[in-house]
């Protein structure tokens, strides 16, 4: 093994350890949500989906925002690490979006009476999910590393531009989706047990994001090290 592949293996190992810590934290969130938080009187047990849906949305939008920032910086600095990070963050963002887009309808059905409605927030969220699946498809289709990085950086920046619209869509358009109860100008409107569980869950999803991205980044490094070793022979 070369020094580069040793370094990649170290990054992957750190990422997997962080991911395992995140998954243990997720088990803790399940216990907190089911045993510590009260049952909301009007929505019943289905309200507890909130403790997964909102942090998943946070992690997904964080991922996509960082893809855009890393992509813009890549176009400016041409540093391969930024492209590698953007690719890792996009893939992880798609995984968190899958959680957001499945838990949302499961929560909506008993509360709104429908699995899905084509309102602004839901539609934009679905679009951004498809856009980043397209981003990953583009990366798989273009083989020249410099071209792949440049093309996907443009798509990554366009995807990031949708993120503020998703956050503000509940203010800009008439929608069934509730308005923010934590990230808003006034104080969070939640009982302390619910707020604590939500904040713990958000922290756990952030740790999971860091673990997944570090692992995925390390895997990209390992692939590059293998390619380099093959051409060196």
């Amino acid at each position: 093994m070369t020094a580069a592949s040793d370094q990649a293996a170290g990054v992957v190992r750190r990422g997997l350890v962080l991911s395992a810590i995140g998954l243990l934290g997720l088990a803790g969130v399940y216990l907190l949500a089911l045993g510590y938080t009260p049952v909301e009187a009007r929505q019943g047990l289905a309200q507890k989906i909130f403790y997964l849906h909102v942090p998943a949305a946070w992690a997904a939008l964080l991922s996509f925002s960082l893809v855009g920032i890393a992509s813009a910086l890549y176009l400016w600095l041409k540093d391969d690490r930024l492209d590698r990070f953007a690719a890792a963050s996009a893939e992880v963002g798609v995984a968190f979006s899958a959680v957001m887009l499945t838990t949302g309808p499961i929560w909506a059905k008993p509360i709104w009476g429908t699995w899905w409605t084509w309102d602004a927030r839901l539609t934009l969220t679905l679009f951004v999910f498809f856009l980043f699946i397209g981003y990953l498809g583009l990366r798989a289709a273009v083989h020249d590393p410099a071209e792949r990085a440049r093309f996907s950086a443009v798509v990554g920046i366009l995807g990031m531009l949708l993120v503020p619209f998703i956050h503000l869509s509940v203010y800009l358009f008439r929608t069934l989706h509730p308005q923010p109860i934590v990230l808003k100008p006034s104080e969070p409107s939640l009982p302390p047990e619910m707020l604590t569980t939500l904040l713990v869950s958000t922290l756990v999803f952030t740790v999971l994001y860091l673990g997944f991205v570090t692992t995925r980044y390390g895997l990209a490094l390992a692939d590059e090290a293998r390619e380099e070793a093959r051409y060196a022979v």
């Binding site: 093994m1 070369t2 592949s5 990649a8 293996a9 992957v12 990422g15 997997l16 991911s19 395992a20 998954l23 997720l26 399940y30 049952v39 009187a41 009007r42 929505q43 019943g44 047990l45 289905a46 507890k48 989906i49 997964l52 849906h53 998943a56 992880v92 995984a95 899958a98 959680v99 499945t102 838990t103 499961i106 929560w107 059905k109 008993p110 999971l208 673990g211 997944f212 692992t215 995925r216 390390g218 895997l219 390992a222 692939d223 090290a225 293998r226 070793a229 093959r230």
Partner: protein, 44 residues
């Protein structure tokens, strides 16, 4: 008007199971890719 708290625990169970499946599944997929990648680098 008084109201009854709805009995909808099955939706909670479905959401919690699906979240665990997606996140644990993705972590396992990364771990398997890592195992394959390390063995590939050893061969190289």
């Amino acid at each position: 008007m008084p109201f009854e708290t709805p009995q909808n625990g099955e939706y909670l169970v479905a959401a919690y199971v699906i979240t665990a499946v997606i996140l644990v599944g993705y972590c396992v997929a990364l771990w398997r890719r890592a195992k394959k990648s390390v063995s590939g680098n050893r061969k190289a």
